[in-house]
Symmetry: C2
Subunit: 536 residues, 2 copies
């Protein structure tokens, strides 16, 4: 029997020595506690994924290559398969090494280098062209890395060369529904080539990306016979009788809404912890967005590490303050109340001469939002807690947010969550325990920056806006396409022109967690200066 360990671990991008230590401990556990013959780590294990332009630093590459040798020396008596940026022949490769008996026994260089969406691998790496097969206990293993197995032909080529089991090292980022896409493609490929396949994914949050784990094993019939947990580290061992996995234990898949929620929680937890913050704080308005972000933050960090600040103005309704306090109490977190009027009054006075005779406009609304930004940043600076922003994807799309105001903060948990999904996630969170007051979910959304203001004064209803935005931003549909899908031209033009003209705001927004196939971030790179107009 061949025992393959799947090391689904959470790595620190750039943290070579931290990762080295973790890899050594994990490999020792696989050998000593699980009696594995071989342990498989995720793609670019040594550096974490994606290391971005750190890969251009010679000192970084040198350290990474030294770490591989150090690991080979440190852990013997088990084959270790790990990923690293391999420096050879004046090229850099995205490689996997097989460590055996203290040295690099084999290496594989990734053939297919993705350079689309969130990926920039052709910026850094040279493509390999050779397969890599080796034997463990008379079973032939072939190595592949992530994008390789999304391509047609590579698995069959390995099978023809004698592979019994395909092993694949991955850093496959999450978005809603991705896991089905991923398993479907891999299972079809395994079935077609009649090979077993061991898929090891990394897990954790890295700036805007979430890696969801859910490593799995597929038998030669293309069936998933093992699946590790989603959104958590897990060390597992799967036994093979030649190319036949001998057991069948699959962690059930979460449904879409709960997987999105778990991704958001993991994203906040990893961003706060990996960046060394003491906790998080946020402005709690009594509205749905900050209510959801607060619940996520508490689930990620624990109530003791989260604080909320209520910053009412004369436009804040009593129910907003009441509901904010109800949620803070339900979650057991510390909260503060600081009315913004003194600062707003000061600014309006300081600007009175200059603005004399000018009409009141969004300038005055922005001053309120920015006074809140100054207060929250002061508390963040003083306490060493990360300020979370609370804007959602619908707002980010149309620029319904104030730069340096409610957009001030280090991390934007729900930046990629459209408003309608914000409601669904809030309802979902309340099914675990009722922490978000029902009135927060049912009242009409408002920025409360002017008397009796509601979002629908300036924007189409979210039930209309959100699908338009999804078609335009995520699917690259034109106004014509969206019209053909049954929406009104006025709504389309309003939405599209707002998206077009707010790129400058998004460029200065904090990073947030990607949960859709296209977030505002690495995978949507638009010019600010642009004559393109999507509206008609």
């Amino acid at each position: 029997m061949l025992k393959i360990a799947l090391a689904q671990i959470n790595l620190l991008v750039g943290g070579i020595s931290v990762n080295q230590k973790k890899i050594i401990e994990t490999a020792q556990r696989a050998r000593d506690e699980l009696a594995a013959d071989i342990v498989i780590f995720p793609e670019l294990t040594i550096t974490g994924y994606p290391p971005e332009d750190l890969l251009l630093r010679p000192d970084f590459i040198k350290q990474a290559n030294q770490a591989v040798l150090a690991i080979a020396q440190a852990v013997q008596g088990i084959d270790i398969v790990l990923g690293y940026p391999e420096s050879a022949n004046n090229y850099l490769y995205n490689s996997a090494a097989v460590l055996r008996d203290g040295s690099i026994f084999k290496h594989y260089r990734k053939n297919a280098l993705p350079n689309f969406g969130v990926f920039d691998e052709q910026r850094y790496f040279h493509a390999g062209a050779e397969p890599c097969l080796f034997s463990v206990k008379n079973t032939v293993i072939a190595l592949t890395i992530c994008e390789d197995i999304w391509q047609q032909g590579l698995i069959e080529k390995n099978k023809q060369q004698g592979a019994d089991i395909i092993v694949t090292l991955n850093a496959s980022p999450f978005h809603a529904g991705k896991i089905h896409l991923r398993e479907d493609i891999v299972c079809q490929q395994a079935k077609k080539a009649e090979v077993a396949l061991v898929y090891v994914n990394t897990v954790g949050g890295q700036d805007e990306l979430i890696f969801d784990g859910a490593s799995f094993v597929v038998n030669t019939q293309g069936e998933v016979v093992f699946r590790a947990e989603e959104f958590a580290e897990q060390m597992s061992v799967v036994e093979f009788n030649h190319n036949m996995p001998t057991h069948n234990t699959c962690s059930p898949l979460y449904n879409e809404i709960s997987s999105e929620y778990k991704a958001l929680v993991l994203g906040v937890r990893d961003y706060v912890h990996k960046n060394g913050f003491k906790g998080a704080l946020l402005g709690l308005s009594g509205g749905i967005d900050s209510a959801l972000v607060l619940a996520i933050a508490v689930d990620a960090l624990g109530a003791d590490h989260v604080e909320a600040v209520l910053m009412p103005s004369k436009y804040t309704q009593d129910m907003s303050n009441e509901d904010a306090i109800l949620e803070a109490e339900a979650l057991g977190i510390k909260h503060h109340v600081i009315a913004i009027e003194p600062a707003v009054t000061a600014f309006n006075g300081m600007l009175a001469d200059l603005f004399a005779g000018a009409k009141t406009d969004s300038t005055e609304e922005n001053i309120q939002a920015r006074c809140r930004g100054v207060l929250l940043m002061a508390i963040s600076n003083k306490q060493g807690k990360l300020l979370l922003t609370t804007g959602n994807k619908s707002e980010m799309s149309v620029g319904y947010a104030t730069l340096y105001g409610d957009m001030a903060g280090g991390f934007a948990p729900i930046k990629d969550v459209p408003k309608l999904l914000v409601y669904q996630l809030a309802e979902y969170r309340n099914t675990i325990s009722a922490v978000i007051p029902q009135r927060v979910i049912t009242r009409p959304p408002s920025a409360e920056l002017a008397p009796d203001q509601v979002d629908e004064d300036s924007l189409p209803a979210y039930s209309i806006l959100d699908p338009i935005l999804e078609m335009y931003v995520e699917q690259d549909k034109s106004a014509e396409d969206i019209l053909a899908a049954g929406y009104q031209l006025a709504d389309i033009n309003r939405a599209l022109s707002l998206v077009d003209r707010n790129e400058y705001k998004r460029r200065q927004a904090p990073p947030g967690i990607r949960i859709t196939p296209r977030a505002f971030g690495r995978d949507r790179r638009y010019p600010i200066t642009s004559g393109y107009k999507g509206s008609q």
Copy 2:
């Protein structure tokens, strides 16, 4: 005689219909006023460069391809060579078309697609593999696009196929010294292959990039015999007797310091105008950075379109206000004085309970900077003027700036200018006319956020800091390398650790003008969450 027109024009990224109109007018001028046989436009003429992810939109590509046909129809009686994103065989190519007699007569698909530095062409384009040669007045012209001619072999291959003249369409971005590098490589290639070469570059600012024009013609001996102006639009015609250019009129090259200054002026002018702002404003502190930015802004936009705001605090020295006013008066711009004390006092009062017992730290300094940010943004919002930030590259590197404070603004003209170069540029500007008071240049730099504060309290002297930063940020040198270059370990560690830990600030900074080989922007892509430590 063959008359080739070089159309060095300024395009609007994404503005297909604006660009189409300009191309038609320019081609008509080349035909009617210059009697040219053929007119050459820059790379991706139709869309401007770089269009980034607009290239993923099917509607955008369709419009671009339709525009090429419309231009062919609109202007006949002259060959037109222009660049466009060609959609064919389910691929997108970075192509050049030769328009003749109302239709596309020939097309060339760029062979070498750069995917490094500021370039991401493999994200969008499929590489062509074929040459493209055609005859005009019995002279054989071969087409190439930008990166193609930086590669060895392609020019010679075209020569072997019979090319008399190589024509190359470019969008080659500026950095200091780039023009020498560019001309040297191209001249060597032309000389080696014994062909003449016509190099047409675009000109203008596009977000952080500056295209510097300076189109040129090289004879078969590898000599530059014609050069268009740097940093300005120019239509020129060069006559050829077969492959021999018949005249020799080269605009002189600017020296490095004046080319940097001109790049900054062009960058500000194009960002403000192309984005439709009514002008610009900035906070004028009496320090060197804002003094330089003000001069650049006035040179870019004219005194009538620039306003300065003085926002003194109790830490502001009298000479700061005096010098700021002196410069405003020398440049003939409107200025306002708004003391920040009322807002600072309001915030400190609002936070007094929460901060009771806590030590004074950078929080209080940040509050002052953020009060200035709120004031400037309010004026920007009310007047429709773009707020310019005044931070330099040294500060951006080490995070010596306040997010949402002095970093608030839409565009950062000197973001890529190291502090020592700020002084040189100020001295240079004063040689044109003395507008920056001498005391601004000679006094020790200070943020004036605490009593008697000077930059060197918290940072190594700029004469030490700047070279360390250049080695670390632009050249990817390690601490060990920098130590070997003769710097002190304490200074190195201080600088490198500040660079490492301030990526989060840079990510939220406004875009600025790239003038070095590596700016903080498209060409330096670092993770925020990172375990990498450059310090020792």
